[in-house]
């Protein structure tokens, strides 16, 4: 060790970590901050629904048909106020919406996570294998993406039948291709970078290079796509349920609630459809706003 190398600079530049910068830039946008707060609130409401709501809308003992189609603010037979009114079966709408959110969010997140894992595996395989296998995989992805997701889901449900597992399966099939394409594109860029060459030069195995070096650097765009896809999974599930081919009446998601109230729309009992509809809108719009802003913050090309 010579003296000169010791006198070389050792103090680091004080820069914020990428997470700190990310956080600062994310919260610069008021609208994204509000959207994120809304999502957190919605998730908390859904999680703690049994403790918040005055009624378990699926416990028939707590539902009174006499309470049916009450306007918002009416008092229930059991004594509490139905701030959002009640539906045709006498269920408190506020309670029904929170329980419906639980199902909608669970379906959206579950299908999103499974589609992400599947798409990630396929996309990485395509990027790293190259050649004929990559061509085949990517043509399948193209084919899949050329159909509207709702059409794919509709066809699958028609074949598989109703049920929460089938809905999730249909949503996964409709969405994995987005993840696969994103992962492949990012992985192709990353694998050409010098740090991957360095890993090869150090004699590290392909598996190690893919999973420890390339994959972690592909996560940022995946998170963005994932956020937006969860929102579209939730609205796709609501669409299917509204059409009556999604979730059954025994597992009423927001889509089912909207469908139930639809017949009363014309008779002036707007609240039965409108309030679950607003809950759905708020959820989907908030997730999309957060997703859009994540994309802006995480995309280096949009940086000043």
């Amino acid at each position: 060790m010579t003296e000169a190398t010791l006198t070389a600079p050792v103090t680091p530049v004080k820069v914020e970590t990428p997470f700190q910068r990310f956080r600062a830039e994310f919260f610069e946008s008021r609208i994204a901050t509000a959207a994120l707060a809304t999502i957190v609130l919605i998730i908390l409401l859904a999680l703690f629904a049994p403790w918040i709501t005055p009624q378990n809308p699926y416990d028939l003992a707590q539902v009174d048909v006499m309470d049916g189609r009450l306007a918002p603010g009416s008092e229930a037979f059991a004594g509490y106020t139905m701030w959002l009114g009640s539906d045709g079966a006498g269920r408190d709408l506020f309670s029904a919406i929170l329980y419906g959110l639980r199902i909608s969010l669970a379906v959206g997140v579950a299908s999103g996570v499974i589609a992400l894992l599947l798409g990630m595996a396929v996309g990485l395989l395509a990027a790293y294998a190259g050649g004929r296998l990559e061509t085949v995989i990517m043509r399948v992805v193209d084919l899949q993406l050329s159909f509207p997701a709702s059409l794919v889901a509709l066809m699958l449900i028609a074949i598989l039948g109703k049920g929460i597992e089938n809905i999730i399966l249909a949503l996964v099939v409709a969405q994995w291709a987005y993840y696969a394409r994103t992962v492949r594109a990012t992985a192709l860029v990353e694998r050409r970078k010098e740090y991957v060459e360095a890993a090869a030069c150090l004699g590290l195995s392909n598996t190690r290079i893919i999973f420890r070096h390339i994959l972690p650097n592909c996560l940022a765009p995946l998170i963005v796509v994932g956020t937006v896809q969860v929102a579209s999974a939730i609205s796709l599930e609501a669409t299917l349920s509204f059409l009556g081919i999604g979730l059954p009446q025994t597992e009423p998601s927001l889509g089912v609630l909207i469908a139930n109230g639809f017949e009363y729309m014309m008779s002036g009992r707007y609240w039965i459809s409108i309030f679950p509809g607003l809950a759905l809108l708020l959820t989907v719009v908030s997730i999309n706003l957060v997703g859009d802003h994540l994309r802006d913050v995480l995309n280096p090309r949009l940086k000043k």
């Binding site: 000169a4 006198t7 070389a8 600079p9 530049v13 004080k14 600062a24 830039e25 000043k304």
Partner: protein
């Protein structure tokens, strides 16, 4: 006097804190003169150029100083005024020529537009002028190149076209920001040769921003050396290169391999460039300087010493 900059300060206000990217810069350029603005990354040399061109966007802002272009103050000019000036009286050349060139338009379209934007001439005349301009920067077969798209040209050729466009309207001032850094040695030599010839012929003043002292040594009449947002030494090229006085200039010149005996350890400046978010009080170079003492806790003023100006309490004495 083509350009006189006095006390220019451009600061950036980021969420991580304020950055004094340029903090009190003075210089002037005369017609036909080339000034080399030299500094390392983060020294503020490019921000100085952008400030003159009115190209500072938020969170950046010119907070102080005057920029007089041919006697007119332009530091507070409107965007409309700048649009009249840019490409006409003041032109710029970037490190990446694609900052100037539009990838989807043919070269002739772009050059003719550039001429007609500031002058009413028939298309044919503008085309002739464009061809002549390409010939001036050493482009062989200019007619052919005029009908090409930028992507059909090599990097060196694109930079030549960008230079030709910069000189098109015979501007009074050209600001060139690292125009040859991305180019190969032989191409760099050609570009420097053409730029030098053109400034001499057209009496255009030029500010050549670079990190490479050797480039400006062979090109510039005067050199300003920047460090951490301030000019630390300014003077005639021969004085700066052959008899530097500021310890930073001395260190920079000393760390160039050709200044050292072959195979010997290079004389190196210790440490690294300061973090612009947390500049040391006083002289920003003091933490890396062998001559620093208690007086360096103050910011030294620019002072005239043997025919040039130096911002240092302890200029290197020469025998």
């Amino acid at each position: 006097m083509t350009l006189a900059v006095q006390g220019l300060a451009t600061h950036f206000f980021t969420h991580a804190g304020g950055v004094k990217a340029v903090d009190g810069v003075d210089f002037s350029v005369e017609p036909g003169q080339i000034m080399g603005l030299v500094g390392e990354s983060g020294s503020g040399k490019s921000i100085t150029g952008f400030s003159i061109l009115g190209l500072i966007d938020p969170p950046g802002r010119i907070v102080a100083g005057s920029i007089r272009f041919k006697g007119t103050e332009i530091s507070n000019a409107s965007e409309a005024d700048f649009q009249r000036l840019r490409g006409n009286r003041i032109a710029m050349i970037f490190q990446d020529p694609m900052m100037t060139l539009n990838p989807v338009l043919r070269i002739d379209t772009q050059m003719i537009e550039a001429i007609q934007a500031h002058e009413t001439v028939p298309r044919r005349t503008a085309w002739e002028q464009s061809r002549a301009a390409l010939g001036l920067v050493g482009i062989p077969a200019p007619e052919e190149r005029l009908s090409a798209y930028p992507h059909q040209l090599s990097g060196g050729m694109r930079q030549r076209v960008a230079i030709a466009i910069a000189f098109l309207n015979k501007p009074d001032l050209i600001i060139a920001d690292e125009p040859t850094t991305a180019l190969d040695v032989t191409i760099q030599a050609q570009i420097i040769h053409e730029a030098q010839k053109l400034t001499r012929e057209t009496r255009t003043a030029m500010i050549w921003i670079t990190h490479d002292l050797a480039v400006v040594a062979g090109l510039a009449d005067r050199i300003s050396v920047m460090y951490a947002g301030r000019i630390v030494e300014q003077g005639a090229t021969d004085d700066i290169i052959d008899r530097p006085l500021h310890p930073y200039t001395v260190g920079l010149l000393g760390s160039v391999p050709s200044a050292n005996r072959r195979g010997a350890r290079l004389a190196q400046i210790e440490g690294m460039a300061p973090n612009m978010l947390a500049l040391p009080p006083g002289c920003a170079f003091a933490p890396r300087c062998q001559h620093a003492d208690a007086t360096c806790a103050q910011v030294p003023e620019m002072a005239a010493v043997s025919g040039r100006t130096v911002r240092c309490f302890h200029p290197v004495s020469r025998p």
